[in-house]
């Protein structure tokens, strides 16, 4: 079932939580709503579920306007961040709840309910916990029961609010993989909220990046990382090195630092955004860039050696970060305090306010 969100505005008092949000979620996709806290992602999810009423705008399921429908009638599955299991009911009773509160004429009989609960417990691999109470379960188990409970009604839409937020890293990874498998098997349309970039990029077919109540960008994970459309998305997805300067002809300069752009550009104050893997470090400045840096710290853990660098003779709001391979690190053997020069291969130029960046390449020059 596809979900369409049309021009949703939502206020909490005078605070505008959602600003004119429109979004199209195709049938059967797994969508991640990603953003920092306060960006409105949970509010949007709750508006889709019907737990919050928007001041204006519409929500459509499969082309049908569900805005006037009560939560109860929207028939979506919802998984809460803190599980929201009924604490006085056993696991089996929790899962059966949705079936047991159905109007008498639609309600399956006791034997059928029991059978369905059994199947769901098997699906989440927790059949042995049927008679436990929520307080006796671990976080990961609780979340799986919450999922089973949400799926008992066979919803065609599953909404998850930070489903893995309260779990430790290992359990998180397991559950993530498991949710993806479940989604692929059952073919419902899922929307999940997260503030974890890695989680969003790994799990989703499409990622919706939100900030301050607005959608910044909707894209598949690969394009999102490779071609961010705004400064915010750039900053939010992974580290970025920024060189801000004034443009004089093709030269972008600030203090002792300068970069010769490969093509003509306009703008007064412009920023060059560089991903850590788009920058090389050398002992000598290159012909097209003079960006002196001092090595501040060296982190050896991981697939790459990560160097944190401070600009020399020019300014940057945040320290620069560049990754080099272990092989290169062993050859070069840099020390803390050493001076080196950054050489950009590819960069993203922001020279017009509110416009996507212009990607530049120095490779092959």
């Amino acid at each position: 079932m596809s979900i369409t969100v049309e021009r949703i505005n939502k206020y909490f008092g005078s605070f505008q939580a959602l600003r004119d949000i429109s979004l199209e979620i195709p049938d059967g996709k797994l969508i991640g709503l990603l953003g920092p806290s306060g960006s409105g992602k949970t509010t949007l999810l709750r508006v889709i579920a019907g737990l919050e009423n928007a001041e204006s705008g519409r929500v459509l399921f499969h082309g049908q306007d569900v805005t006037p429908l009560h939560v109860r009638e929207r028939r979506v599955g919802f998984v809460f961040q803190h599980y929201a299991l009924f604490r006085h009911m056993t696991v089996a009773q929790n899962i059966a709840f949705g079936l047991e509160v159905m109007p008498r004429k639609d309600r399956p009989n006791a034997a059928e309910i029991r059978k369905r609960v059994g199947e769901l417990l098997e699906m989440v691999q927790l059949s042995h916990l049927a008679d436990r109470f929520p307080a006796q379960l671990s976080g990961g188990q609780k979340q799986r029961i919450a999922l089973a409970r949400a799926l008992a009604m066979k919803p065609q839409i599953l909404l998850l609010d930070e489903p893995f937020g309260a779990l430790d890293a290992k359990v998180r990874k397991d559950l993530r993989r498991w949710l993806r498998a479940l989604h692929d098997e059952l073919h419902f349309t899922s929307v999940f909220v997260t503030h974890d970039q890695e989680e969003a990029l790994e799990l989703s077919d499409q990622v919706v990046v939100m900030s301050a109540g607005k959608i910044e960008q909707v894209d598949d994970p690969r394009s999102l990382y490779a071609q961010p459309e705004s400064r915010f998305v750039f900053d939010f997805l992974g580290h970025v090195n920024v060189f801000e300067g004034a443009l004089q002809g093709q030269r972008l300069a600030q203090g002792e630092g300068w970069v010769e752009l490969p093509e003509q550009a306009t703008g007064d104050t412009v920023q060059l955004y560089l991903r850590p893997h788009e920058v090389r470090l050398q002992d000598e400045p290159a012909s097209h860039a003079h960006l002196p840096l001092r090595i501040e710290s060296i982190s050896l853990i991981g697939a790459e050696v990560r160097l944190e660098l401070a600009p020399c003779g020019w300014q940057s709001e945040e320290p620069w970060e560049v990754g080099i391979s272990h092989a290169e690190f062993n050859r070069w053997q840099p020390q803390r305090g050493d001076r080196c020069y950054a050489v950009p291969d590819v960069g993203h130029l922001f020279n017009r306010e509110g416009q996507p960046p212009h990607t530049l390449s120095w490779v092959g020059r």
């Binding site: 599955g77 809460f80 929201a84 089996a92 509160v101 309910i113």
Partner: protein
């Protein structure tokens, strides 16, 4: 090996400790235990027979009946009111919500006598609403409806006060989960909300009942002490005492004391249940 004196925690010097414990015990004995024992001792001072005679006295029986009747009306009214109020202030955001939470405490802050006088002023035959009611042949003051009204007023915070912190702490997520799963309002209340608040609710009801049975000040203003008509048990105690019927007064008083002890017992059990609720024992489940 060198011997070290075992170190003491703050305030744990033996004489301080025992002085404090001794003081507390003496005060408890003087203020609570001795008076309580004396009530029963006085009631039985004339022998069991006399006590029984006093207990089965026509007016005493009427007072007991009226008191129970008032409690039987007050408790359900405040049960519904308290749940409604707690639900309102913990599940909804609206202007004046904080003010309402403060207002709930007014009956605690105001002297019951003042409450009684206010009701008399408002609903008495010379009062603003009372004169209109009198024209329509409705008498509230100096009759049982007046007693119920002031008792409801005096006891209305108990249930809400017990529920509000608990419901705030539990939040509304479980209810939201229930609605999403398709539960109707009533199903939600009966199957999700009520089981979560039941012990706090029972606790609130027990306190409401204790206060409803024992209320003196407000009731004495609006009841008018008509023997055999508007005399509740606490008023009856005073009346008997003023009649120099000490044994009779103490027999009635011992009934009230008995109710108090019973309240404490139930309170203890409920508190124990509440604390053990966090690790619920395994019940045989309906669905397996």
């Amino acid at each position: 090996m060198k011997q070290y004196k075992s170190s003491l925690r703050v305030g744990e010097r033996p004489w301080t400790k025992w002085l404090l414990i001794g003081t507390a015990l003496t005060l408890t004995l003087l203020i609570l235990v001795i008076p309580l024992v004396l009530i029963f001792a006085q009631a039985l001072s004339g022998g069991v027979g006399t006590a029984w005679e006093n207990l089965t006295d026509e007016y005493t029986l009427h007072a007991i009946g009226l008191t129970l009747f008032v409690a039987a009306l007050t408790v359900p009214i405040n049960l519904v009111f308290g749940v409604f109020l707690a639900w309102l202030v913990t599940r909804f955001e609206f202007p004046g919500r904080k003010a309402l939470i403060t207002l709930i405490d007014i009956p605690f802050a105001v002297s019951p006598v003042v409450a009684g006088l206010l009701y008399l002023l408002l609903y008495g035959s010379n009062g603003w609403l009372g004169s209109w009611l009198a024209d329509h042949d409705v008498q509230l003051m100096f009759a049982w409806p007046g007693i119920v009204m002031v008792t409801v007023f005096v006891t209305c915070p108990f249930v809400a006060r017990e529920l509000i912190p608990l419901m705030q702490q539990q939040g509304s997520e479980e209810e939201e989960a229930g609605v999403i799963l398709g539960a109707s309002g009533w199903q939600l209340f009966r199957r999700v909300t009520l089981p979560n608040i039941q012990w706090a609710l029972i606790y609130g009801v027990v306190l409401t009942n204790a206060r409803a049975v024992g209320e003196f000040g407000a009731v004495s203003v609006v009841a008018g002490n008509i023997r055999g008509q508007t005399n509740t048990l606490p008023l009856h105690v005073e009346l008997l005492y003023q009649d120099y019927n000490v044994v009779g007064a103490f027999v009635s008083a011992s009934l009230l004391a008995g109710i108090a002890l019973l309240t404490l017992l139930i309170k203890g059990i409920v508190e124990w249940r509440q604390s053990s609720q966090r690790s619920p024992e395994i019940n045989p489940s309906e669905v397996r």
